[in-house]
Each structure stands twice: as C-alpha cells, then as structure tokens.
C-alpha cells in the first residue's frame, strides 16, 4: 500500500527490496553479514586463518537464520576481493559466484581494504586523514592502500614490507598491529578494527549500490605472481 503525499502523488518510500549478503575471506576473519540497505541485520565472524573453506557456509547460514530471513530474499551477493592470502580469498569469491548463480541475483566484489577503511573511519570520526589500511600478506609483507576518507581510496592496493608503508600517516588494520614495532605503536589508530568485518563490507556495498555506483565483478585481487620457475635442462643423474 502506497503512502500518499500532500500532492496526492504516491510517496515513494522504498523503491525496491534490498537484502545484501556479504562475506569476506581475505584475512583470518571469516565473516558474513546481511544488510537491508539501512542497517546490518546480522553478522557472524570466526577468526581462523586456516579454515576459510570449512567456516564460510555455516557462517552464511547463521546470519540468514539470525536475521529471520531466507536465502531466496537475497538481492545481491558481495565478497571481499582481497588482497589477501590466495587460498582463503578464493573461497569467498567462488562462494559468491556460485551462490549468486543459483539464487539468480548478481554477484559483486569490494576491495577488502575498502571495507576495513570504511569501518575504521566511520567508527573513528577523529581519525586523521589521509590514513593507511593494512592487512597481513604473509612472508613478512602487508597489503595496504591509502584513503582520504571512509569511502575514498587514493592509492593501492599494494603489497610491501611494513617498513616501506607511507611514513607518518595513521594506520589501521592487523597488518599495522602485527608490525607495531616496525611501524611505530603511536601511528596505529586505537580502537580501530583489525579485520574487515562483513557488516562494514555489506554497508559499503549497499551504499554504493543505492548510489547507482557500479561494483566490481567477483574476481580476486592478486598482487603477486604464482611461485613457479621454468625448469632448465634435466638434472644429470650420473656423476
């Protein structure tokens, strides 16, 4: 039933029903959330760097159940695109593609660092800008990007050694926290989230979709080439 405004025209309260299912597997946080375009209805996160494949689907089932929703009501599936360790990262993107296909809805991705930056900046209005969001890239390196506010990435994502992060900017994320001694404890924003929780990812995606801004297809951001060398001549077996 349409509300009627003063001019007798139907007042368009809500054009379409929105239910964004978002999840991220680019960090040790295996995290899922449902967002209705206005708020996070449910979020579930388990920190485990080694079990993305086992934990993600049960996490998705939990948020759908907690929100009292049905998967059939989901209108878009969004996965964190990374960067992040590849084996876990692919679980999220494959799941988004496959789930969206069976539900007949679009699948998208959002840069994982964007979600981390969005969560950090919306929770810390006093956060000095610009700032850097960083996650663990293993091999003593971090994935990072530089932001001028909660929604604007100025450069990145890149992979770098922690000592090579831009000097003097405030830092958020586990990539900064785990190298506090290298980057300087004082630069790390207190109270900012270490991981990109799916609630933030869903909220950012919902904002961008509502604004008519295009989202990326569900493809991973790989910042390193596969480790593989072309072999030389066969090794001699005789002395």
């Amino acid at each position: 039933m349409a509300a009627v405004g003063a001019g007798g025209e139907p007042k368009r309260l809500r054009l379409t029903f929105v239910l964004v299912l978002a999840f991220d597997t680019a960090t040790p946080a295996v995290t899922a959330a449902l967002h209705d375009g206005e708020r996070v209805l449910a979020e579930s996160t388990t920190i485990d760097a080694r079990r993305h494949g086992e934990l993600l689907v049960p996490q998705v089932e939990a948020v759908v159940r907690d929100a009292g929703a049905s998967l059939r009501e989901v209108t878009a599936v969004v996965a964190g695109a990374g960067p992040g360790p590849y084996t876990g990262l692919r679980v999220g993107l494959m799941t988004a593609q496959a789930l969206a296909t069976t539900l007949g809805v679009p699948a998208y991705s959002v840069c994982t660092l964007d979600a981390l930056a969005y969560a950090a900046a919306t929770a810390n209005p006093d956060l000095g800008t610009p700032f850097v969001a960083a996650t663990d890239a293993r091999r003593k390196e971090v994935f990072w990007a530089r932001y001028s506010d909660a929604r604007t990435r100025d450069e990145g994502p890149f992979v770098a050694k922690p000592q090579d992060l831009p000097a003097d900017l405030p830092l958020v994320g586990a990539g900064a926290r785990m190298y506090a001694e290298v980057v300087g404890e004082a630069r790390i924003v207190p109270g900012a989230p270490e991981y990109p929780y799916a609630g933030a990812l869903a909220a950012l995606a919902a904002e961008r979709l509502a604004a008519g801004a295009g989202l990326e297809p569900p493809r991973p951001i790989y910042l390193r080439r596969p480790d593989a060398r072309e072999p030389g001549a066969p090794k001699k077996v005789t002395a």
Partner: protein
C-alpha cells in the same frame, strides 16, 4: 529411469576443472576446462596456477554442462564434489563452489574421494560394477590397486606406489627424451614406432610379493641410459627408449593387477585414471586378462582422465545407497585415504 535423481559433479583436484551431470548411471554432460597449457612450460602442474584457473573456469564450465544436458540449475537434485585427495588449494575451489550450489539450491551435498570416483565412472559406460572387483588406478598423482566390494560403501587398498606415480614417471622420462608435458600421450605415440624389448629397463618390485609399485628407479635408469649414450656420442632412438620404458611400466602394472585378482579370487579388473588412456597398457591388460579368464573394464579415455562426470557418478551411487550427505563445514582433505569413500 527418468525418476532417478540428477546429480551435478565437480572435480578440481589437479589441473582440470570438471563438471559432469548424470541421471543415475546415465551420463548427460561432461564439461572440462583444462589449465594444462599454462603448466606445460613449467614441466609440471603448478598448484597456484591451477587454483587460479579453477576459479576462472568454474562458472562458465558449470553453465556449459547445464547447456549440454539441456537442464536448468533448479533441476539438480544433489551436488557431489571431490573433497580429496589432490592439491589442497585446487580442491578448495571446487568444494567452495559445490557447497554454495548445494546451499543455494537447497539440495544435499556429497564430498567424495577422487580415487573412488575414478572407479565409479565406469558405470556410466559399462553399467553396474561387479561386486567385488579389483581396480588399478594409474595417473600423474596416483598408482593404486584396490579391492572394491561396493564403491559406495567400501574400498580396500591393496597396494600403491612407494615413490613416483606411474604418470609422473611418464612425465619425467618424456623430459629426458625432449618430449613435451604431459608426457603420457607423447611417449605412447613415440613408442608405436619403437620396440618394447630394445632396452631391458628394470621392473621395480616385480617379484617382491607385494602389490606395491615403484617407478623412481626405472625413471633414473632411463635417464642414466640416455646420458651414457649421449656421453659416448651415440644417437638415441627415442621410439625404442619410449617403448622400452613404457613396456616396463605396463608390465609391472598388469602383472600386479592380475596377481591381485588371483589372490582375492576376483574375476573382474577395472583400470582407471589418466594412464589408463595408454594404448599399450590397454592392449597388454586385455591380453593378460584373456589368458587369466578375467573380465577387463576400461572406460573410454575421456572418462579415464579427471572429469566431473566421475564425481557425479559416485554421488549418484551414494544417493542410491542411502548414504548420509556431507555437512556444510566439509573440509577439503589433500591426503584423504582411499578407504574413505565420502566425508
């Protein structure tokens, strides 16, 4: 037959993204995307390259399979997936896809053993498996002899390679001979112009009384032989070396397979896996089975190499046997033992 359930099967344990659809034992679709060309210059499968390719290929390959079968997603009654053994990162892409399809469609999920699927696939070509049968599985990653009382419920390991898989030996010998990767088809082709008795290469564990295999010594013997000839300035007749090497491999494989049939008094032998596409293995196995009164079953080459139809076939067997589906926290298990048919 049309009331049998439709099963979607997904296989990503190595470098093939396989998606198959079956209705019971009827094959409806078998779509494959291979990343083998991307690995060729590295002389072997690079796990990260394979995993990336699976993620790229999965959605289009599933669409192709549905199209081949003339079906819609909503028609699928169950999803089966290779949960192991195989490359961990590669398996995980297939398992993630299968879980999401099962979740989105609201149908049961079956995580299955890759090796058992290589056995079950023959049902698509030759009907129900004799119970029991002996299975010889030979590929780039595996060389196993199995006693199969019931592929949906019980598979017993009789022996396996103690070092290299048979297909791995083919790849390594091909490299020594300057033939491209993967070595199997190239050695098979070269060997047709050569003599299998030209060089007496060693047959590892030939008379040791076990049903295990060893191909590492053979591979090294071929390399030594080739190096010695080259050092002496002699030219190598590649077809003779290829044929003699191949003869040594298939001699051991078929001897042990028939030994297993004798020991367990089983009269049906099934050969599966990528190396089962080898023409000399098929010919010698047939010859020896005929002499021993054993019936031989070998699926056509397209079903021997890794594919999704084999996974769907095993899934259909599990469904028919009333086996419980897998939980949604199903892990990929890169070293899943052969005795585990499903998880």
């Amino acid at each position: 037959m049309t009331d049998e359930p439709l099963v979607l099967g997904i296989e990503t344990s190595c470098d093939e993204t396989g998606v198959g659809i079956v209705r019971g034992h009827t094959l409806l679709a078998n779509a494959i995307a291979s990343s083998v060309d991307e690995h060729a210059r590295f002389g072997g499968v690079v796990p990260e390259v394979a995993s990336r390719a699976h993620l790229e290929a999965m959605t289009p390959t599933v669409e192709r399979a549905l199209e081949q079968a003339g079906l819609k997603f909503g028609d699928i009654d169950a999803v089966a997936v290779t949960a192991g053994p195989g490359l961990a990162g590669a398996l995980l892409v297939g398992v993630a896809a299968a879980k999401a399809y099962a979740l989105g469609l609201g149908v049961p999920l079956y995580g299955v053993n890759h090796l058992a699927a290589h056995v079950a696939v023959d049902e698509l070509e030759h009907g129900p498996l004799p119970r029991p049968c002996i299975a010889l599985l030979v590929s780039g990653g595996h060389s196993s002899l199995l006693l199969v009382p019931d592929v949906a419920r019980e598979v017993i390991s009789l022996g396996s390679t103690v070092d290299d898989a048979a297909g791995e030996a083919f790849d390594k010998v091909a490299r020594v001979l300057g033939l491209p990767f993967p070595g199997g088809p190239h050695i098979d082709r070269a060997a047709r112009e050569g003599s299998g008795t030209a060089v007496a290469f060693p047959r590892g564990k030939y008379d040791d009384g076990t049903l295990d295999f060893s191909f590492s010594g053979l591979k090294t013997a071929v390399a030594r032989w080739v190096e010695a000839k080259r050092a002496a300035g002699e030219t190598i007749h590649v077809p003779d070396v290829a044929a003699s090497f191949q003869e040594a491999v298939v001699d051991v494989l078929t001897r042990k397979a028939l030994d297993a049939c004798r020991r367990y008094d089983v009269h049906d032998l099934l050969i599966g896996g990528g190396v089962a596409a080898n023409s000399r293995l098929r010919a010698l196995a047939q010859e020896r089975c005929d002499a021993a009164g054993v019936r031989l079953r070998v699926p056509r080459p397209g079903l021997c190499t890794d594919n999704g139809a084999m996974v769907a076939a095993l899934g259909a067997d599990l469904l028919a046997a009333g086996v419980s589906p897998s939980a949604h926290d199903l892990p990929a298990d890169s070293s899943m033992p052969i005795t585990t048919v499903n998880v």
